[in-house]
């Protein structure tokens, strides 16, 4: 069976693909104006069929998420912690109606407003978490891979230990440490973001370190050393720029995972207080007991919001990754006409 097969299975290098066939596409991309060479746009042009559909869906969902977060005050009919308006209290657990298109919760919040305001929290956490883990993870990976020795061994072992552990549990412990369990809006967002960061740093660390170790042996690094380039410049210019190729995929996967982790923290009751910011996971937590008595609107809509947000980010990341990997990319010319239609 397998031992007769000398090729490694399933690691994403481009060996054995027909690069010549890709050349026209690549050349076309290289000639086009700068805005068409931006990551997602250039991928959009290269994609066909189902892959294009998935990418477009993802881009639309992400754009929707960002726009909703940006214009939440205009879109939401009420505040995220409002339980009454000029006409009086909203009432609790009301089914969807004209005044409350998605109904009200057990606390008397308007579900639609909660869902819309929740995008803000999700985007804020996503941005903070990914930015923080990107910086810390890349820096550590670079140092560890370049310097090597004991520092490398210790860091690798630490990263492996943390990576092997269920990330959610780590996030729970971290959130308790950072915020003491529950907190105000920005405190809560930062606590959630930092808890998620701790979980992600090992991922960035491992990928960057592996790339740096590989690149360190390349002739151009040797050459730079021979002409007397400083360590800082070698790390910054020669290694870092070349090691970041794999980052976009982890970047998007982490973004989607940070939304999920935030929701999970909120669901377990370690999130942001409902009066400080709207958070989908918390709303789902409160909706759990509603479900038992057949009240579906309090849980369904925040849940769908999570799914759509994660779906959007994941679709963009997946498609970009598939398009970067020639093995997985759907080619423009297809042998069978039936596949071309798909």
């Amino acid at each position: 069976m397998t031992l007769s097969n000398p090729e490694p299975v399933g690691d994403g290098n481009a060996a054995g693909t027909d690069l010549a066939a890709e050349a026209p596409v690549v050349a076309e991309t290289a000639r086009s104006p700068w805005y068409l060479r931006l990551p997602v746009l250039s991928h959009l042009r290269r994609s066909v069929g189902l892959q294009r559909g998935m990418l477009i869906t993802g881009v639309v969902l992400v754009a929707g998420l960002l726009l909703t977060a940006l214009f939440a005050p205009l879109l939401a009919p009420y505040g995220f912690a409002a339980t009454s308006d000029a006409a009086g209290p909203f009432g609790t657990q009301r089914p969807p109606s004209a005044a409350h298109p998605l109904g009200t919760t057990v606390t008397g919040f308007d579900v639609l407003s909660r869902v819309i305001w929740g995008t803000r929290t999700a985007v804020a956490v996503m941005v903070c978490a990914v930015a923080a883990s990107l910086f810390v993870g890349v820096a550590l990976g670079l140092l560890s891979g370049y310097i090597g020795g004991w520092l490398d061994r210790v860091l690798v072992m630490l990263a492996d230990a943390i990576y092997a552990f269920p990330s959610l549990l780590l996030a729970i412990v971290m959130s308790i440490v950072i915020s003491g369990g529950q907190s105000d809006a920005w405190g809560g967002i930062l606590a959630a973001a930092l808890s998620i960061t701790v979980v992600f740093v090992p991922q960035y660390f491992r990928v960057i370190r592996a790339e740096v170790v590989r690149l360190k042996a390349e002739p151009f690094v040797e050459a730079a050393k021979v002409v007397g380039t400083g360590h800082r410049r070698i790390m910054g210019t020669h290694l870092l720029r070349n090691a970041t190729r794999t980052l976009p995929l982890i970047f998007t996967l982490n973004a989607s995972e940070s939304i999920l982790t935030l929701a999970a923290l909120g669901f377990l009751g370690f999130g942001i207080e409902p009066t400080s910011a709207s958070e989908w996971g918390y709303d789902l937590n409160r909706a759990m007991s509603d479900a038992t008595s057949g009240i579906w609107w309090t849980g369904l809509f925040p849940g769908l919001a999570i799914v759509l947000a994660v779906l959007g980010v994941t679709l963009v990341g997946e498609s970009v990754n598939d398009l970067n990997d020639p093995r997985l990319r759907t080619r423009r010319r297809r042998r069978s006409p039936r596949r071309a239609r798909a």
Binding site: G10, I162, I172, T292
Partner: protein, 362 residues
Amino acid sequence: MTATDEKGASAPSAPRRTRQRSSGGLGRYILIRFLLIIPTVLILMTVVFFLMRITGDPITAALGGRLTPAELAARRAEAGYDRPLIVQYLDYLGGVVRGDFGTTYTDRTPVSEILTTYGAATFELVAYSVVVALVIGVPLGMLAARTRDRWPDAVLRIVAILGYATPVFFVGLLLKLVFSVGLGWLPVAGRISTSGEITMSRILNPTPFYLLDALRLGDMALLRDVLSHAVLPAVALGILTGGIFLRLVRTNMIGTLEMQYIESARSRGVAESRLTTRHALRPALIPIITVMGMQIAMMLGGAVLTETTFEWNGLGYMLAQYMKARDYVAVQGIVMMLAVIVAVSNFIVDVIAALIDPRVRY
């Protein structure tokens, strides 16, 4: 999935060092790999111990508002929390080595008892879910690979991504709404019904595994009760993992289906169905075995959420409860237990991988 990517990405550094040595070092490899469990668990234990202490000691956290400062100080001294942190840490380590994980604050139960009782519940849940995940993931992944870029593949890929994007507690909520509240087929929550519990209490020396006890008793009604409670949680958690399996099987099978030996088998006239099940599936399953280790860690994380959703009295559910009560001793014990499970399963998976593929040994 990221797990595979990183496995692949970090692998190249290992074989280089070993190439000069003979490839016969399997025993050595297993030994080294086994010893690596200890630092992994130790690191996690240490990290959690000190992290939990940053926010203060458990007694202040639990009783801070209710006692006068003098009473609080007396209580802290009694429990040994006035000593330096490092002494407490060494003391705790000493206890763990002797098999003593301490006693919880909130309900005064030995942690070791919590670990066996609730650990069994989590084990049952994860075991059911792995079955569900394999039943969903492997055949559908094969189907997707065989129909690559045609509509079944397209549908399945979207379903798999949806499976990843949907939090397990939302799946749980939907399942509850449809199957428990809407159709009334399955129980809403818990591991067993009240009447089942009464039957169960009549068993002499019960095991912590409900399924085992029900089978031993041979009581069909009890068995149905136990299984019906397990269906929704197992499906909720299994769907999550099944989606990941599906994608893994698909990607790896597409890889193997393009290998030359498949082409040669095809030219010999081997049937397409046999080609996928025999020739392509087996090599495609190897990365899945290796990812399984990572998956167990992920499933344990998912188990926390699933258990909370369905009030399944497992380690995850209890961990969240103890965490909220700031019962650090219980939290540490459970976290360490989970760390051991993860480390041991990773070890087993690595050994299997080494047996299959000699290149990963060091």
